[in-house]
Symmetry: C2
Subunit: 222 residues, 2 copies
DNA sequence: AAAAATGTTATGGCTGACCTTATTATTCCA
DNA sequence: TGGAATAATAAGGTCAGCCATAACATTTTT
């Protein structure tokens, strides 16, 4: 693997794609949203990433990670999630803030430090948000889960992971107790892309569909 | 204290000044050396830092930290050195590499993380290189030490701290056993800014004067 | 099939932190 | 005191990563 210096920005683009795409093709607009930049900026950056062989872009159809890009992205995710573990388990940083702090650290982490950290933490398999941590060799088994947004009325499911990254979103989910391990039941599905109403931890909670997309669950009943 | 985003570069300049100046006036050329940039770039940056009230510059006389600049610098040093402790004590990173890895992390560390880390580490007072760690409020008692470069022939002294930052320099000092806690005896002082010859750990070691400036010692005999 | 929405490209601009080269100012020292 | 060394300033350039605006292409919806 060629050694090259990837900028923080590059890492953020690749990570975003891994987080919200995995293998699939991703709309450039989704990237713009998640990264908080304009679509024009995404287009520019996607071209640069394409030139570096990290992504492959079919105009008007979306963009996806190449093998090389996915390797880099998994590496970034590994660092990110290991730091999340450290910040949460050892530094007792608030759950909703862990992602953003880990994100900064991630970009500044040399491979030696990453592996030493993994050892220190005991090679954890998931981060505090429930997402799997890719192995040092880049291998990565995605969760067998579905987005809560696809759950049917009456369904009870267990939250496996939260794939959101924005601190305010994480804070909201934390307050509403929509956290890994919890069980939620869908008690209402409003029409017209309206919110889901969930029963969780003895309370009813309304959750917008777009937020529900980032809550990954496993059916456990019905 | 006004909240503002200081760039990584700004932090590096201020840290460099704190490391090699403390209170004193520093020649812009020394900054250029340590930061590995041209004197012209230092001039530019010093102007910018001056405009932000972080340093005060008297042309041809040098530059020094303002109160505000020193506060920021101490904060940076605190983060830097706390990470050094973590990397060395917990991740078992090689002594000579700890500085550079900590340096990257430092710029990416939020105040909450800094303080949580300090707590986790048990509020250490010195970093693995022997330098004192400024307190959270910015207070900072410098070492009562002299540079080894000023030691006289025949002098025996104990190394208190190593103020070098370049990994190759640290590696050299590590190999030669010039480390905090060690005792060194000056057995020769070559003329014309020539090297010192030291006796340390049963061996004789030659040390250039400029490197010796970054080894801080306390006289213990003669 | 036309209109609306979405995605892409082109152009030009900005910022921070560097760089080089050349000129000018100051300080130091013999 | 005059030349050498050092420091500062000026002018112009680069690069990444963003921005806005506008034109154009494609896809989706009606």
């Amino acid at each position: 693997m060629t050694i090259m210096h990837l900028s923080e920005s590059t890492e953020m683009y690749l990570k975003a794609m891994a987080e919200l795409g995995g293998q699939d093709v991703i709309a450039t607009a989704r990237l713009a949203e998640r990264l908080n930049v304009t679509p024009v900026s995404v287009s520019e950056m996607v071209r640069r990433l394409g030139e570096q062989g990290l992504v492959s872009h079919t105009p008007y159809k979306g963009v996806h990670l190449t093998k090389k890009g996915r390797e880099v992205a998994c590496n970034v995710l590994r660092r990110q999630r290991l730091w999340e573990c450290f910040l949460y388990d050892h530094l007792k940083i608030d759950w909703s803030q862990v992602y953003e702090f880990a994100c900064s650290l991630e970009h500044a982490t040399a491979p030696e430090v990453t592996e030493a950290l993994a050892g220190f933490l005991g090679n954890p398999q998931t981060c505090p948000r429930g997402n799997p941590i890719p192995a040092a060799d880049g291998s990565f088994k995605p969760l067998d889960a579905m987005p809560l947004s696809e759950a049917k009325l009456g369904q009870t499911a267990q939250v496996l992971a939260v794939n959101a990254t924005a601190t305010d979103v994480l804070k909201y989910l934390q307050e509403k107790n929509i956290l890994p391990g919890r069980e939620v039941t869908v008690i209402e599905v409003a029409p017209m892309q309206g919110p889901l109403t969930l029963h969780v931890g003895g309370k009813d909670v309304a959750l917008g569909l777009s937020m529900a997309e980032f809550v990954l669950v496993k059916k456990i009943k019905n």
